[in-house]
Amino acid sequence: MSSPTPAQTPSTMPHSATSPSYTEFHPRWYRPKVSTYWWLGKWAYVKFILRELSSVAVAWTVAMILLQVRAVIRGPEAYLRFEHRMSYPWMIALNVIAFAFLLLHSVTWFNLAPKAMAVRVGGKRVPAVLISGPQYLAWIVVSAIVFAIIISRA
């Protein structure tokens, strides 16, 4: 917004003597301040903030995966130490929270795709479900394969 000129009544103005509240120039706009807690006022805003926060969970998970890869490279003893650290109750709680945020991150990302991709076939816009649907399907298939591998080796 352009910055306002404060209300002023120059002494040179003939009106200033008769009406001190008279302003020849810029009106005195009221500029409401945005509260730090603006996002608590509406569920849609809370969801938005949670979605933005989910990027921290993504970064955390990437760091965990990199540490796991490093442990694999360093050998069985290092991997056992990594597993031990990952079994701390606070670490499990943290990873459960991170997983919930990852789910939120993925779902919001898949739902965004049809908004960003306005695909038209035969003059008509392709329904959103046909763009986000295959992504969900691929997600489920990949998750099922990973789950099957884990179960078969347990």
């Binding site: 917004m1 352009s2 306002p4 209300a7 509240s21 008279y22 302003t23 009106p27 005195r28 706009w29 009221y30 500029r31 409401p32 945005v34 603006w38 996002w39 006022g41 509406k42 849609a44 805003y45 938005f48 933005e52 965004l112 908004k115 960003a116 991709m117 306005a118 038209r120 003059g123």
Partner: protein, 249 residues
């Protein structure tokens, strides 16, 4: 149905007040009455000093946007009966300076609108010829051309409130509308102005602008599509800097 309903209306007089306050009015409830009818009733019968913008009464002019129970709404399209026994809180649209009562200052938006060049840009040729367009080509941008500049999207967008230099939903949607128009050749010019943090990249896709839009323009969708075009443009500039410069000339 209640015979009357309470309206808590935000009042602010720049000459008298340091901040807005609420004044309560009791107005009759009629099935066909919208918020604007109630405000006009107050103005005509109870308090002639109440100030608010309005014009067409049919969702075309975009003048009567107010916060109704903290939701951006068009006064002419919001029925009193939606709010049962009330009270109904009416405030000026959020994220704008308040001039008086429910009247907001919009010159900042008009400056932003100008920046996106919301008109057809055509380089040479044409003359008096018609620019033919098929129905399919029209469909590409028709939805985004329905904007009435009512500014409800700016009131719903938290980024517009937090970052005053952000160009905002309606102006960006209009830029996208002209980019998608088969008669327009100005997309590179607009991209140069809008592919920065004050433009398309300032949008964090909260999505509320689309939800509150009374004309179903889908500004959030338009901006995400614009971002995709901006990303492709950026990759092209990186891979073919020389070719891109030629195109932008």
């Amino acid at each position: 149905m209640a015979q009357t309903i309470q309206l808590k209306v935000s009042r602010y007089s720049p000459e008298r007040d340091t901040e807005p306050y609420f004044q309560t009015y009791e107005v009759p409830v009629k099935e066909e009455w919208v918020i604007l009818d109630a405000l006009n009733y107050i103005k005509d019968k109870i308090d002639g000093t109440l100030t608010f913008r309005w014009s067409c009464r049919m969702g075309i002019c975009g003048s009567c946007g107010y916060m109704v129970n903290n939701e951006p709404k068009l006064g002419c399209a919001t029925f009193l009966t939606q709010y049962a026994s009330g009270p109904i809180t009416i405030e000026p649209l959020k994220n704008f300076p308040i001039v008086r009562d429910l009247v907001i200052e919009i010159s900042d938006f008009l400056e932003k609108l100008k920046k996106v060049k919301p008109w057809l840009i055509h380089h040479g040729g044409g003359g008096s010829n018609e620019y033919l367009q098929t129905p399919d080509q029209l469909e590409e941008f028709r939805q985004h051309s329905m904007c009435i500049n009512c500014l409800l999207c700016y009131a719903a967008c938290p980024i517009s409130g937090l970052d005053p230099v952000f160009i905002g939903p309606a102006a960006l949607a209009l830029a996208h509308r002209y980019n998608k128009d088969s008669r327009d050749q100005g997309s590179a010019e607009r991209m140069a102005v809008l592919s920065h943090p004050e433009g398309i990249w300032g949008c964090t896709f909260v999505g509320e602008c689309t939800r509150v839009c009374p004309k179903h323009v889908d500004p959030a969708g338009a901006i995400q599509q614009y971002k995709l075009a901006g990303a492709i443009d950026g990759i092209k500039q990186f891979l073919m800097p020389w070719g891109q410069r030629q195109e932008n000339r």
